[in-house]
Point group: C2
Chain length 218, copies 2
C-alpha cells in the first residue's frame, strides 16, 4: 500500500505553520522562519539542500531523515510552490528551489490554473493539478513507483488531506514560540480518527507523530 | 512585585484546553480528561488533592509542584468554579472540590452575577468579582500577602489576562492528543510580548513556559 505522509510540519505553540503577513519577500510570514530553525540545523537538511557537511544529529535529524525515506512523489499546495496568485502570467516561475530542486521525483502542485509540466534538472518535474486533491493523490501514487507519497504544505493543503481522511501519517513538530497569527494547521472542526503513535522531544522542539487509525477495511 | 502566574495549563496539539460538548456531567468536554492524566499521576497532585502517597516524580511532578510554590491567592473563571450559568439560583453550589478545597487561601471567581463570599473548610474563601479582570487582580494581589497570584482556567480567563498583558508567566503543557473542538487557549489575534523561557518534555507531555517580556518600566 502506498501511504501519504507529511513530515517536518512545523507549528508554533499557538497553532500556526506560517506567520502573519506572508508576502513574496516574506514567504513564511513574520517570524515564520523561526519555525524551521530546528530542521535547517540538521545534517539531513544540509545534505538535501546543498548545505554541505556538518549539521546536528540526534532526534531532530532522525525526524528530518524520515521525510526522505521511501518517498517516490510529492504533493504540495500552490503557495508552497511560489508566491504567484491567479493565472500564471508566464512560465518563468519554477519554484523556490533553483534549477535543481531537492525532490528528484515528480511533484504535483495543487492549483486552479492549468500549466504545462516543468522539467527541472536532477529528476524533478512539476505537474500542475487542477482537478482536486483526490486526483493529485491518484497521480502521485501512480508516479511514485511503489514508494510512498510525501505531502508538503502549506497549511490549507495539510488541512484538506487531513479532513478528507487521506493523510496516513502526520509528523508534526511543535516549536516553542508564539507567532500571534498566520495560517493554522488545525482550524474549525478537527480531523477525526488520528491518534498519536509517537511523542518525543529534543532540547529545541517536540515531535508528535499522528497516524490514521485503522479503518477496518476487509 | 507580586506576579500573576498560570500553571499546568494543559492544551491539546490542536490547541484546546477543554474538549467539545462541555456539560455538568462532562465538565472538561468530550476527551478533555485526557489533558490532565499527566498531572493527576504526579506525586504533587496526589498530595494536594488527597490522593495519598505515591505518584510520579520527575519533570512532570516538578512542573506540578511549581504551581503550589509561593501562591497567596487564586483567580479563576466562573466555568472553572462550576457548571451554573446566569444568576445564582441559591448558595448551594460551592465549587467542584468538596467542603475542604485544595486552595487554602482566597479565591476570586470572575462572574457577572454578584454573590456573597463563601468560606470553606481549610482556609479557602470564594469571592465573586463582578467588576472585571483588573479588579480581580487587584483584590487577589491585596489578599496574597506578598506572595504571587495564581491564575486558573478556563480558556477564556487565560485569554483575557494574556491579551491584557497582565499575565506574567504561563506554564503551558502540550498533550499529544487531538480533541477536534472545544475551548482554544490561543484564539484570534495572539498575545504580544511573551517569549518562551523554558522548554522541556517528559515521555508524556511537553512543557513550555512563557514569560512576559520586560516592559522597561523605570
Amino acid at each position: 500500500m502506498v501511504r501519504l505522509r507529511a513530515h517536518n510540519i512545523s507549528m508554533s505553540v499557538d497553532g500556526y505553520m506560517a506567520g502573519p503577513s506572508q508576502s513574496p519577500d516574506d514567504p513564511l510570514g513574520v517570524g515564520g522562519e523561526r519555525l524551521h530553525e530546528w530542521v535547517v540545523a540538521t545534517r539531513t537538511f544540509r545534505a538535501v539542500h546543498g548545505g554541505g557537511e556538518g549539521g546536528t544529529t540526534g532526534v531532530d535529524d532522525a525526524f528530518a531523515a524520515r521525510a526522505e525515506e521511501n518517498i517516490g512523489a510529492t504533493i504540495m499546495g500552490r503557495n508552497m510552490f511560489g508566491p504567484i496568485r491567479g493565472p500564471w502570467p508566464d512560465d518563468e516561475w519554477t519554484g523556490w528551489w533553483g534549477p535543481n530542486p531537492p525532490f528528484h521525483h515528480d511533484v504535483f502542485v495543487l492549483t486552479h490554473h492549468a500549466r504545462t509540466p516543468v522539467t527541472m534538472d536532477g529528476g524533478t518535474t512539476f505537474h500542475f493539478v487542477t482537478d482536486g486533491i483526490e486526483s493529485a493523490l491518484a497521480q502521485a501514487t501512480a508516479a511514485a513507483g511503489g514508494k510512498d507519497v510525501r505531502l508538503g504544505g502549506g497549511a490549507a493543503t495539510i488541512r484538506a488531506y487531513l479532513h478528507a481522511g487521506l493523510l496516513d501519517e502526520l509528523d508534526l513538530t511543535i516549536v516553542p514560540i508564539l507567532l500571534g497569527g498566520g495560517e493554522r494547521v488545525f482550524d474549525g472542526a478537527g480531523p477525526a480518527g488520528y491518534e498519536c503513535v509517537e511523542f518525543t522531544a529534543s532540547p529545541a522542539v517536540a515531535h508528535v507523530r499522528f497516524a490514521r487509525a485503522a479503518t477496518g477495511t476487509p
